[in-house]
């Protein structure tokens, strides 16, 4: 038996994107939404999440490793492509190119965000809570970086989800692609609005 390794790695990339990572992203945006209810609600939410059983294993196994794999294989995908927008400036070709750039930006952002939250907690003992996040968001540079990254991540999420539907063969027609495109866009915009409203509340 010949194991189609190439195929498995690529499908795993797709799978990590739409299951663990997209699920975590959704959870994360829902948790952030508690910011709108004020510091107590948000801090209680953080408390709840950080007291989940085996939280460290879940963070590593269901969040960190999938993101690392998705990013690592993503770098390889970026390397194997050669964009040609200059001659074929079609919408979907723009999405293809944007998917790669937003992926790179998202990864840079995630590392930075991790440093500002978990990293700072570990290194300088700055506890992650409403006050700490509000402190970060009051620096205009950070706020803009977060807003830009949110835009990139939500595009990457929606477009990636849409692509995965084609990549796994769930959608095989033009009409299907149009309908699923709007659904994915709606999912992306919903999470985006939730995320941005939380950011702006913190920055107030």
């Amino acid at each position: 038996m010949k194991i189609p390794l190439h195929f498995i790695l690529k499908r795993l990339h797709s799978f990590t994107g739409f299951l663990p990572i997209a699920a975590f992203l959704t959870e994360h945006m829902f948790s952030n939404f508690y910011i709108l209810q004020g510091p107590e609600a948000y801090n209680a939410r953080i408390e709840l999440l950080s007291n989940l059983p085996f939280v460290m294993f879940m963070e590593i196994g269901l969040i960190a490793l999938p993101i690392l794999y998705h990013a690592g294989y993503g770098f390889y995908i970026v390397f194997t492509g050669k964009d040609n927008l200059a001659w074929y400036p079609y919408r979907q070709n723009w999405f293809y190119t944007l998917q790669r750039w937003t992926g790179l930006l998202a990864f840079a952002y995630i590392l930075f965000h991790l440093y500002q939250t978990k990293g700072s907690e570990f290194l300088y003992g700055k506890e992650v809570n409403y006050a700490r996040m509000a402190e970060i968001m009051h620096v205009p540079g950070f706020l803009w970086f977060y807003l830009a990254s949110f835009t990139a991540i939500m595009f990457h999420f929606a477009n990636g989800l849409w692509g995965a539907l084609i990549g796994w063969g769930a959608v095989t027609s033009d009409a299907g692609r149009r309908v699923s495109g709007w659904i994915c866009a709606l999912a992306g915009v919903t999470l985006y609005v939730m995320g941005v409203s939380a950011l702006l509340t913190l920055a107030k």
């Binding site: 038996m1 010949k2 690529k10 492509g81 050669k82 084609i166 095989t172 033009d174």
Partner: protein, 250 residues
């Protein structure tokens, strides 16, 4: 529009042989109504002289059918892939650049070697595996709905436009492109092609196969026959997903 004093400028990327360095040459010719790129190239052939009057060799290109069904005159016209025979000067403007396709090894001037397409067809067994000197009777009937659907897939003439327009086909990847994947779909759909269906799927999940698709969908836009290549890619992805466990067997 005055036709008498219009001049067409043709910039052609030329290369004597695969090892030679490419160079640009400019040609001029009087406009004629309904001119296409093939006529322009024949005009050069008559008297191969560049714009500044220097004698040169005639530009080498291939053409066969002259009606966009053979694919050999596929080249880059103003940077975009298309067939020279169906590229009308009236759509192009008076300054036109011609280049050979970039995703295939160059032979000379505008001629490239497209044999990788044939290799890909062999890879995905793009044929019906029944062949007998004996009369084995009529084949199974194919309903007209399926005939109509499959006819569109069968209009592919291996021009290579889908590979040329694909950002995932380049020197850093072995991606076979949309064309052989569409053919695998065609023969997997055929009742007599079905016995080899899983074999074709296995060929598609190998290195350089369908997973290298980046969902750019340029292939469908570039296809001169408007084959729904994205549908074909998605359909083969679906067949692979459905047969996931079979791919690992034997």
């Amino acid at each position: 529009m005055t036709t008498e004093n219009r001049t067409i400028k043709l910039k052609v990327k030329r290369q004597e042989c695969p090892q030679a360095k490419p160079r640009w040459e400019e040609f001029q010719m009087p406009y004629r109504p309904y001119m296409n790129i093939v006529i322009c190239l024949r005009e050069i052939q008559k008297d191969p002289r560049t714009s500044d009057g220097k004698q040169t060799t005639p530009v080498v290109w291939e053409c066969g059918c002259l009606e966009e069904v053979c694919g050999v005159c596929t080249m880059l016209v103003n940077g975009k892939v298309r067939q020279a025979c169906s590229a009308l000067v009236d759509e192009m403007g008076d300054e036109i650049t011609l280049e050979p396709m970039t995703k295939f090894p160059i032979v000379r001037d505008l001629v490239v070697n497209r044999s990788r397409l044939f290799a890909s067809l062999k890879r995905v067994s793009a044929w019906i595996p029944f062949n007998s000197a004996k009369d084995i009777g009529p084949g199974p009937r194919i309903p007209p709905q399926q005939q109509q659907k499959d006819y569109v897939l069968a209009t592919c003439f291996s021009c290579g436009s889908c590979l040329e327009a694909c950002p995932q086909v380049n020197e850093r990847s072995n991606f076979i492109g949309a064309m052989p994947i569409n053919q695998a779909r065609l023969f997997n759909d055929h009742p007599l092609g079905k016995p080899d269906a899983v074999k074709r799927l296995k060929a598609l999940v190998d290195e350089g196969g369908i997973e290298d698709c980046g969902n750019t969908q340029n292939c469908a836009r570039a296809c001169p026959k408007h084959i729904p290549l994205v549908d074909s890619l998605a359909e083969m992805n679906r067949q692979i997903t459905r047969n996931l466990l079979r791919l690992f067997r034997d």
